[in-house]
């Protein structure tokens, strides 16, 4: 028994070297499968959630993300946000004036006017659950706004 434990011990110890050796090719070949198998995504608090609608303009696109209320461990928040990106940054007009349908019901929920040079943004809510502008940002390659929303499913009857 002691001999078996000893042999196993040495084997596992040698395996440790093999594990570290396998890490080098592992970094190249396992990274993508790891993400696709686990289905992991970056928290919507940072990524803005998935793009649900893309509107094509002549030189640029408007990407409307889903409404985010689920950046919490369980359930949904009372208040969240929606992210809208305009891309590519270098082909945007001097002024963007667009109505955005946040909940996908075919009706515009707010209007946004952006001066793309100085990022000055004016938000006009149409729906009562659109609370206001959280901020205007320039992540890589695009212009982006986040609009604060009240969770429509949690509004008191």
């Amino acid at each position: 028994m002691a001999k078996i434990k000893s042999i196993l011990g040495y084997m596992v110890a040698a395996l440790s070297t093999l594990i570290m050796l396998a890490t080098i090719p592992g970094l190249m070949f396992l990274a993508e499968p790891l993400i696709s198998v686990t289905g992991l995504t970056i928290s919507p608090k940072y990524s803005g959630g998935e793009v649900v609608r893309t509107i094509d303009h002549d030189a640029y696109q408007t990407q409307v993300h889903r409404m985010v209320f689920d950046d919490v461990l369980i359930g949904e928040r009372k208040e969240g946000f929606i992210q809208v990106n305009w891309t590519p940054l270098d082909r945007l007009p001097a002024r963007i004036d667009e109505e955005i349908d946040a909940d996908g019901d075919g009706q515009a929920d707010f209007r946004v006017e952006v001066d793309t040079a100085n990022k000055e943004t004016t938000l006009t809510p149409y729906a009562s659950w659109v609370l206001g502008l959280e901020g205007t940002y320039e992540p890589e390659g695009s212009l982006m706004i986040r609009v604060r929303l009240r969770n429509p499913s949690q509004i008191t009857r």
Partner: protein, 208 residues
């Protein structure tokens, strides 16, 4: 039944929101499983008190006051600050020494009793935190139309959520590991500092 099912469906959220305060506190106390059960019952009792108070407020004032963001922020913020203070007192207090030696039995009896109120107070303030499932419960309870209906709904909801707290007293199985008591004390202080910060922020948002 509806309230109980709503509680069952959302109880994990309640556990998650209460855990940062409850778990370090229980670890620090180093009690047996049975004693932990008693502490948990006091905590849940306090929590129910917080829920019922909010439920009464919601029924009495109509949900208007509840919806007023500033008011909510102030109440929840104050609850966080209170919870932080209680947690700090709970873990940093010197526990009452062995009975029998002191002549001032009246004062001693009072002093040895008040630590028992700590979990009640913590539970009450934790209950005031208005976690997301609680808002759903308010909305549904208010729709019953009567005070008695609201209270029964809340009680059932509370029972549904409390199911998930059942494993917590089993922390007592590890009470002999004195390291856990020390870890619990340190963790409670860190959690309390975080609640203090969150509470002050919410209060400031509620006032401004």
């Amino acid at each position: 039944m509806q309230g109980f099912l709503l509680g069952l469906a959302n109880g994990t959220t309640c556990l998650v929101f209460c855990a940062p305060a409850l778990i370090p506190f229980l670890m620090h106390e180093g009690q047996t499983v049975r004693q932990n059960l008693g502490t948990l019952v006091k905590f849940l009792g306090g929590r129910m008190g917080g829920y019922l108070l909010f439920g009464l407020l919601a029924w009495a004032t109509g949900s208007l006051l509840l919806q007023a963001v500033g008011f909510q922020g102030l109440v929840i913020g104050a609850a966080y600050v209170g919870l932080a203070a209680l947690l700090l007192v709970a873990v940093l207090r010197k526990k009452a020494p062995a009975q029998g030696a002191c002549a001032f039995e009246g004062a001693r009896a009072r002093l040895s009793r008040w630590p028992a109120l700590l979990p009640v107070g913590m539970g009450f303030l934790a209950g005031l935190k208005v976690c997301p499932p609680l808002l759903l419960a308010f909305t549904d309870a208010a729709s019953t139309g009567s005070l008695a209906g609201s209270l029964v709904f809340f009680l059932a909801f509370f029972l549904g959520t409390s199911v998930y707290f059942v494993p917590i007293p089993f922390l007592g199985m590890f009470r002999r590991v004195s390291a856990l008591q020390i870890v619990g004390k340190f963790a409670a202080v860190i959690v309390a500092l975080y609640y203090l910060y969150a509470g002050i922020l919410l209060c400031a948002g509620g006032i401004l």
